[in-house]
């Protein structure tokens, strides 16, 4: 009986400790120029899942990445920069909880602060910021958590099954954690 209790406790501890090993998430930050083109380029793979929503929201048919950054967040206290020639998006992570990462975002045009916001970025909910008009297009800032890129080591959305297993694992750990 005692041995069984010890065994089950060890199994439970293993389950609960697993998220700690798997807690790091990859955050993709992109500076996008949205515009209408006669022959639009394919949408960046990071945005493929949201292509229709972006087209509907902004009315453009091409979304081109002019600057990007991929950052693996292990502690939730990291900061990073995604920049293009004239714009820079500075991201300062200030902690995390079940609801997501607390981020401070600053958009700079050259050296000038254009926009600042504090957000809580959720794992399954991207953030899109509409920036200034640039020529005939629009500057967009996109931040999303993309663990598929991290787990596959490639920058595409190919292996849905691994994602499903990871999601299932997270749900199980959430069930145990309450």
């Amino acid at each position: 009986m005692v041995r069984a209790v010890v065994l089950w406790s060890a199994a439970l501890a293993l389950i609960l400790s697993a998220p700690a090993a798997n807690a790091a998430h990859l955050v993709w930050s992109g500076l996008i120029i949205a515009q209408n083109e006669a022959q639009p380029k394919p949408v960046p793979e990071e945005l493929a899942a949201y292509e229709e929503t972006l087209k509907e929201l902004f009315g453009y048919n091409q979304f081109e990445v002019i600057g990007q950054s991929r950052k693996t967040l292990a502690t939730g206290q990291e900061d990073w920069l995604a920049k293009s020639k004239y714009f820079a998006l500075k991201v300062d992570a200030r902690g995390e909880d079940d609801a997501g990462y607390d981020l401070n975002l600053q958009l700079f045009q050259d050296q000038e602060l254009l926009l600042e916001t504090n957000t809580r970025l959720s794992e399954s909910s991207p953030l899109v910021i509409k920036g200034p008009q640039v020529g005939g297009g629009q500057l967009l800032l996109v931040l999303l958590v993309d663990d598929e890129m991290k787990s596959s080591g490639k920058h595409h959305r190919g292996h849905k099954s691994s994602s499903r297993i990871e999601n299932a694992w997270r749900r199980i750990t959430r069930m145990f954690k309450g």
Binding site: Y50, K85, P126, I172, M175
Partner: protein
């Protein structure tokens, strides 16, 4: 040199004779009590002899065979390379293996159950915008609004009135 107890036992069993018997009986403090004790001891001996006679085994060969079998079994269990010793050694490992297999089966069942849930149940959280501010130098009338495209769970921070920039700002 015999002790008193040895002489007493010999006297009770009528083993003392001659000079030794005379000396022992002379040394007794109360001969009448000793004689009474001797009689009682002899009476008890006779009773035990009568009542506790060794029983004759009618199936001695079978009993002996059973005994040998039992001894052989115990010897086999006791030897280090025997199968009996192996059982006691592997028993916890087997139990551990069974417990592991059972845990794995339970985990698989839960995993299958959870994976069948709708993807919308992945996370109840949407990205939240706590606050936002625009630099007034880039548009005095610039405004901010926040909304969510629920279908894709996209949170949008929508700005209006920022200064337009020339197309060269689209450079990578």
């Amino acid at each position: 040199m015999k002790t008193f107890e040895e002489k007493w036992t010999a006297w009770v069993d009528d083993q003392l004779t001659g000079d030794e018997l005379a000396k022992f009986e002379a040394s007794l403090p109360d001969k009448a009590a000793a004689e009474a004790e001797k009689r009682a001891a002899k009476k008890l001996g006779a009773l035990l002899n009568r009542e506790l006679k060794m029983q004759t085994l009618h199936n001695a060969d079978f009993f002996s065979h059973q005994l040998r079998e039992q001894i052989d079994r115990e010897e086999r269990l006791g030897s280090p390379g025997s199968s009996g010793g192996g059982t006691s050694f592997w028993w916890p490992v087997r139990r551990l293996a069974w417990a592991g297999a059972a845990s794995l089966a339970i985990f698989m069942a839960i995993a299958v159950f959870v994976m069948r849930q709708q993807p919308t149940a992945e996370s109840q959280y949407l990205t939240q915008i706590k606050n936002a501010r625009l630099d007034q130098a880039n548009g005095a009338d610039a405004t901010i609004s926040i909304f969510e495209a629920k279908e894709d769970r996209v949170t949008v921070l929508w700005t209006e009135g920022l200064k337009s920039l020339p197309s060269e700002y689209a450079a990578k």
